[in-house]
């Protein structure tokens, strides 16, 4: 083999703390290295051209580039060597930036370490084999998980592009958090008026299959062909028969049920249609509230249902589907604000969350759009908004800014004035964060035009006094303690990833951060991709964002999915396991552990042998580490290749 080694300066990123020329000189002495040089920017066009020229001039049969992390530019350089006529797998990278130059300033140690990493890479490369991908057909169907505005957008865009889309929504209706909002900032236009038609589009789109009140049970398979099981939860109502007339909800005697859609602002019935514009507009019974399902006596809804849609014996149903790609758009939840004792820890009925307040403002909400104190139904005059409840608070492990609270608080203050012209709003805030288009103007308007009093400071205590709530806090601008007598306190509760996002991430085999937000492929360059091919992200599940950003990301995820699924065939990654049949004893241990069921037992001249199903294998190498005789090896990461790297360190 004739190896070429290229030590990248990355400007001064590497060259600043690594003597690249010295590393190249050292590399020239390594086995099979026929050419070694340092290079200013290996990834830039002149750098890539230089690599190609060197491959041709020196008849190189393998290339090592020592530069940044392979997670960044390995694909780039693989294409480079391919352009020079080499197989793309005759290439190795040594990470001398993230793992060397950026983490220490000792030039001698860094130079030595870089040279050793290059030696490891070259030692491995000597055992690399040319690998060729296999192509396999793609299922042109997209799964969108989550029917909030981001998921709706992704589903519609993909469906409009001709893809079949399966949209799975946990709740009985799509719409997500946006459907709960009364108005949206900064235009103060009606949330359901803009979202409603999009929801209807989903219901009517011939390419979209909607599974509401359903959850993703399991995902197997891989990009191009995921096999998904969807659990359609028992609604106890046959939705084929249900016309959404609502008679059952009127007659249901269990009237003290928690109203999830309305955030518990007032009770509801056990059989519900979440809200008038719900999609699908179908009734469903919440089991824990239903008298028949819990106590065995009732059956009113069944009696009144004109179509006989009620079915108390209904069970969860598992639907299986094969899809080529998946968009996760599972949104967010509010944090549990009741941990804050200073706000009463949930004991004061007139301390409400911002989302509850949205429902109180909404004309279709339980109060019919009239703002009433939950405790006595009286219209409040002094309303205090407390910002950053659970945002930017390292003490509860939520150091981040939720991003949209400043804006919706401003909107709610405006709406408060609109609803109750003689009211006064007070806003306790830390900073006003309003960097969007028209956003800062909006927060000024609420103060200047709507006369909301903005107080920069934290609230230290809320306590009841008579039928008022005393809000005590600091005005840090004035440097004084303030106390406000409030009729209603609205908490701008911070958001976190949806409660079950981690579980979904595990099913999708994607990463998530410590708050449960899904990890994008690259924070800058791959904001909607994940590290699992074929899985894309949209909306707040990736990180908190407001409606326009969620919609944009929904479209972006759809665009990525459309790009992927526009192809008839995909190339499988050839870095997969292979069996040396004459060494395999057919013990089946690899089959037992393979997470992908990618290994099957075959009969070879009467002997049982393992065989890798090439398009199913994902290249984890668990089988390789399990096979006692090493008969199954992971291409590109064979035992000998890893041993060569170990020896390259231990023998020196």
């Amino acid at each position: 083999m004739r190896i070429g080694v290229f030590i990248c300066h990355c400007g001064s990123n590497i060259a600043g703390t690594v003597d690249c020329a010295a590393v190249a000189a050292k590399a020239a002495t390594y086995p099979d290295v026929a050419y070694a040089t340092d290079i200013m920017y290996a990834c830039a066009e002149p750098g890539q051209d230089a690599i190609i020229a060197a491959i041709k001039e020196h008849q190189l049969s393998g290339v090592v580039v020592a530069s940044c992390t392979p997670r960044m530019h390995e694909p780039t350089f693989r294409k480079t060597v391919e352009r020079a006529g080499l197989n793309r797998y005759m290439f190795e990278m040594a990470n001398i930036r993230e793992h060397v130059s950026w983490i220490g300033k000792d030039i001698e140690a860094n130079t030595n370490k870089a040279a050793e990493l290059v030696r490891m890479a070259a030692a491995k490369l000597r055992l690399n084999k040319e690998l060729k991908p296999k192509s396999f057909p793609v299922t042109k169907r997209l799964l969108v998980v989550g029917g909030g505005v981001a998921g709706i957008q992704a589903a519609l865009d993909a469906a409009d592009a001709g893809l079949e889309v399966i949209l799975v929504e946990k709740q009985p209706t799509i719409g997500g958090k946006m459907a709960k909002l009364d108005k949206t900032f900064p235009t103060v236009d009606c949330s359901s008026c803009i979202l409603g038609p999009r929801m209807v589009d989903v219901a009517q789109h011939p390419n979209i299959t909607l599974y509401a009140y359903s959850e993703v049970e399991s995902v197997s398979g891989y990009v191009g062909n995921f096999d998904v099981k969807i659990r359609k939860k028992a609604s106890y109502v046959d939705w084929v028969k249900c016309t959404g007339c609502g008679l059952c909800t009127e007659k249901c005697p269990a009237r003290k049920s928690y109203d999830r859609f309305n955030e518990g602002v007032g009770p509801t019935t056990a059989i519900i249609i979440p809200f008038p514009q719900a999609i699908p507009k179908k009734a469903s019974i919440e089991r824990e509230h239903c008298r028949l399902l819990t106590g065995g006596k009732c059956g009113v809804c069944a009696k009144v249902c004109p179509t006989g849609a009620i079915n108390y014996a209904m069970e969860d149903e598992i639907i299986e589907a094969r899809v080529g790609g998946i968009v996760a758009a599972t949104g967010y939840d509010l944090i549990d604000w009741k941990i804050y004792e200073e706000y009463g820890g949930g004991r004061y009925p007139d301390v409400v969350t911002s989302l509850q307040y949205e429902r109180m403002l909404s004309a279709s909400g339980p109060t019919g759009g009239h703002i009433k104190r939950p405790s006595d139904g009286v219209e409040p005059k002094d309303v205090v908004f407390i910002q950053c409840v659970g945002s930017r608070d390292p003490s509860i492990g939520r150091p981040y800014c939720s991003g949209f609270c400043c804006m919706y608080t401003a909107k709610q203050a405006i709406l408060t004035k609109d609803h109750i012209p003689d009211s006064q709003s007070y806003v306790f805030y830390m900073d006003i964060r309003s960097p969007g288009k028209g956003y800062d103007e909006f927060t000024r308007r609420v103060q200047e035009e709507y006369k909301a009093r903005y107080i920069r400071g934290r609230v230290s205590l809320v306590y009841p006094k008579g039928n008022k709530l005393i809000v005590r806090g600091a005005d840090t601008l004035m440097g004084v303690q303030v106390e406000v007598e409030a009729d209603l306190v609205v908490l701008a509760v911070g958001a976190e990833a949806a409660s079950e996002s981690a579980k979904l991430a595990e099913k999708l085999r994607i990463s998530y951060d410590s708050y449960g937000f899904f990890m994008e492929g690259h924070p800058k360059l791959k904001p909607v991709e994940t590290n699992t091919a074929g899985v894309f992200l949209a909306g707040a599940c990736q990180g908190l964002k407001d409606i326009p950003s969620s919609v944009a990301q929904g479209s972006a995820a759809a665009a990525k999915a459309i790009g992927l699924l526009s192809r008839d065939m995909l190339d499988s990654d050839p870095q997969i396991a292979f069996v040396s049949a004459n060494r395999c004893v057919g013990c089946g241990k690899c089959i037992e552990v393979c997470p992908f069921k990618a290994i099957q037992e075959i009969d070879l001249r009467g002997q049982p042998k393992a065989e890798v199903i090439e398009t199913v294998c994902q290249g984890c190498g668990l089988c390789n580490a399990t096979c006692p005789q090493g008969a199954i090896q992971l291409s590109h990461f064979t035992d000998n290749q890893i041993l060569a790297e170990v020896e390259a360190l231990c023998r020196f």
């Binding site: 086995p31 099979d32 020896e647």
Partner: protein, 359 residues
């Protein structure tokens, strides 16, 4: 070179033995049987070491002349500054072995070397390709064997032309007598080693003679028809049933071959690190299926029955055919004694003779 034995009888008392050993160890690597855990092995002797003479050694001393692994040569493919990654080739033969003495080996061990000698002397190529590694070591090794006082159940040296008091293949013979050991040189090499010792008295010589006779007396009687073994094994070559039955309990480990004083097969492998490395040889064994596995996947001796057949056949048929009837077996019985599943090569040979007679 065999010399007149009568003139070279020496005596070393039990007390004087350590001093004698120290003298031997001063001029060469001295190997002597040593007790280690449950085994008795030939190890380089150091002052203070007890020589284990009450138990017979578990292993043979063949590793003294045929190390379990040894370098044949080393190579270096680097060195050309113009073409650093790959350039020339420098081969360096392994360094010369130093002198060695084996003290108190079994008499059968020495006879084992007689099976090695013609093969390593290049008989296969008509003497043209000699195994210099073995020959040099053999030449530099002086072998002192001991008379066996008794026989074990597994001993059968007398079946294959040996005897408990044989000095064939050795340079000197050690016999325990009252108060110490009588040492008798067989070759000049042996004699020079014993030179410093006091001559044995006639009484001591007689005692030694008596001890040797006693040992020969107590040795097992050889069966009548061992001479038929080569033909019998040849006749049974295609008798799969016979070999399957004989090998049924064999677990085809290499214990028998590695303990065997006459097994000389080896493997050659390369090890390298980057541009440098070595070609080495290491013991190999015909009971391993890999021994004859061809690159194509074909294996002429895929079944253990075939491998056992080859092992027994080699010792009692093929080898004698090439080497004037001499068995490639010294009857030490280690293969039987240490076989984890108690395969008994004597039984196989006798069964074969019996079976062939019936055919």
């Amino acid at each position: 070179m065999v010399m007149n034995t009568d003139t070279a009888q020496k005596f070393v008392s039990f007390e004087a033995l350590p001093a004698f050993l120290a003298k031997l160890a001063a001029g060469a690597t001295l190997y002597a049987p040593r007790r280690e855990n449950k085994a008795v092995v030939y190890r380089p002797w150091q002052a203070g070491d007890k020589v284990e003479l009450s138990l017979r050694p578990t292993e043979s001393c063949k590793h003294v002349v045929f190390p379990r692994s040894e370098e044949l040569f080393s190579f270096d493919m680097g060195g050309d500054p113009e073409k650093p990654g790959k350039a020339g080739l420098t081969l360096q033969e392994a360094s010369e072995p130093g002198p060695a003495v084996v003290f108190a080996a079994l008499s059968c061990d020495a006879r084992g070397f007689l099976a090695f000698d013609p093969v390593y002397d290049g008989c296969g190529t008509g003497g043209k390709a000699k195994d210099t590694y073995y020959l040099k070591r053999r030449e530099k090794t002086t072998l002192i064997v001991r008379t066996c006082k008794s026989s074990l159940n597994t001993c059968f040296c007398t079946w294959v032309g040996g005897s408990p008091a044989s000095s064939e293949g050795a340079d000197a013979l050690l016999t325990e007598i009252n108060g110490g050991y009588l040492l008798e040189a067989v070759t000049d090499k042996g004699a020079s080693l014993l030179a410093s010792l006091p001559a044995a008295s006639d009484e001591q010589s007689a005692a030694s003679r008596a001890a040797r006779e006693q040992a020969v007396q107590s040795a097992p009687q050889p069966p009548q028809d061992m001479i038929k073994a080569p033909a019998a094994l040849g006749a049974l070559f295609d008798s799969a049933a016979f070999w399957e039955k004989q090998s049924a309990h064999c677990i085809y480990c290499g214990a028998c071959t590695y303990l065997c004083p006459t097994c000389y097969c080896f493997n050659i492998t390369d090890e390298s690190n980057g541009l440098k490395g070595l070609r080495m040889r290491s013991w190999d064994n015909c009971m391993s299926p890999l021994f004859t596995l061809e690159t194509s996947g074909h294996n002429p001796r895929q079944e253990k029955a075939n491998r056992l057949k080859n092992r027994v056949g080699h010792k009692f048929s093929y080898y004698p055919k090439i080497h004037s009837g001499r068995f490639s077996c010294c009857g030490c019985g280690r293969c039987i004694k240490s076989c984890p599943s108690s395969v008994d090569i004597r039984k196989i040979v006798l069964d074969a003779i019996k079976e062939a007679a019936n055919v």
